[in-house]
């Protein structure tokens, strides 16, 4: 994504040219919708959440300090927006224990396909307490880049590492049939 393009478009928006914001939305709609989906696991809702994130970004555009990349700032705004939205209306996911029971029944009846297993693991992440869920979602969204995840969450890298470790440990304990062999390693 063009760093200079973002900067130029932001300058134009601040000068009153709204069409420049349209270019920003076109460039970043995919990542923001996909990030929203990882939080809420609902395609329709993810678009609403991404729209709200763009609106917040528009309102706070003057708050972008040019020392960080525009993308970092935008992801940070979006992350805050999504977390707030999920606090208001939690994602329609089941508690971990219930997921575990359903997975057991399913596996006994028909065997668990890779796809089902993958989806169960993702749902299990969504069902974690918010601070661990957020750390895991951002970490994997940013291709396991802790620095990027920390910037998006507005937290020190050490805190993010600790939450990742704790989140994975919770998953390991709650989903033994999926993650039984998972060895907790120091994250990076």
């Amino acid at each position: 994504m063009g760093v200079h393009e973002d900067r130029e478009d932001v300058d134009k928006v601040l000068a009153g040219d709204l069409s420049a914001f349209e270019r920003i939305v076109s460039r970043w709609q995919g990542p923001l919708i996909n990030l929203a989906y990882r939080f809420c696991r609902d395609r329709s809702r993810s678009q609403d959440m991404a729209q709200e994130a763009f609106l917040r970004a528009f309102r706070g555009l003057r708050g972008w300090r040019r020392d960080a990349a525009f993308s970092s700032w935008l992801f940070s705004v979006a992350t805050n927006c999504y977390r707030t939205e999920l606090r208001r209306i939690p994602a329609a996911t089941l508690p971990l224990d219930t997921l575990l029971e359903l997975a057991d029944v399913h596996r006994v009846q028909s065997g668990l396909s890779d796809r089902d297993r993958d989806e169960a693991v993702r749902l299990a992440v969504s069902a974690l307490p918010a601070k661990y869920r957020d750390a895991l979602i951002l970490f994997y969204f940013h291709d396991m880049d802790i620095a990027c995840s920390a910037r998006s969450l507005g937290l020190p890298e050490g805190t993010v590492k600790a939450r990742l470790s704790r989140g994975r440990e919770m998953l390991r304990r709650k989903l033994p049939q999926f993650l039984g062999e998972l060895r907790l390693e120091e994250v990076r």
Partner: protein, 123 residues
Amino acid sequence: MNLHEFDRILTREAEIEPSPGFVHSVMTAVRNEAAVPPRIRFPWLCLLPQLAVWCIAVVWVVIDSVHLPSHAPVISSRVGEWGEALATILMRAEGFGAGWVLLALVSTLLCLKLRWRISGWFG
């Protein structure tokens, strides 16, 4: 399943394509937002003199009460002195209707809080 597989599952998510009208929808909301006049900020500067007067009044009551000639029996313990001072302050305060002043302040704060909630100041 090992850690790498766990990483692979969570890294490899199906990409969601934005709906065709998404940009248009966002821009409609943005244009509506831009058309709305800027929010009127709460006039904190107007409130400051009142807060200052209130603080001065409280300090004055405390100082005045502490410097009262003590005609109560002298209590040697430190706790007793503090209790006596507090009792004096409360008696003084009662003398000029502090209860009503307190009630007025609390109701003012509640009104402000209600106003913030209604106008979405914190929202």
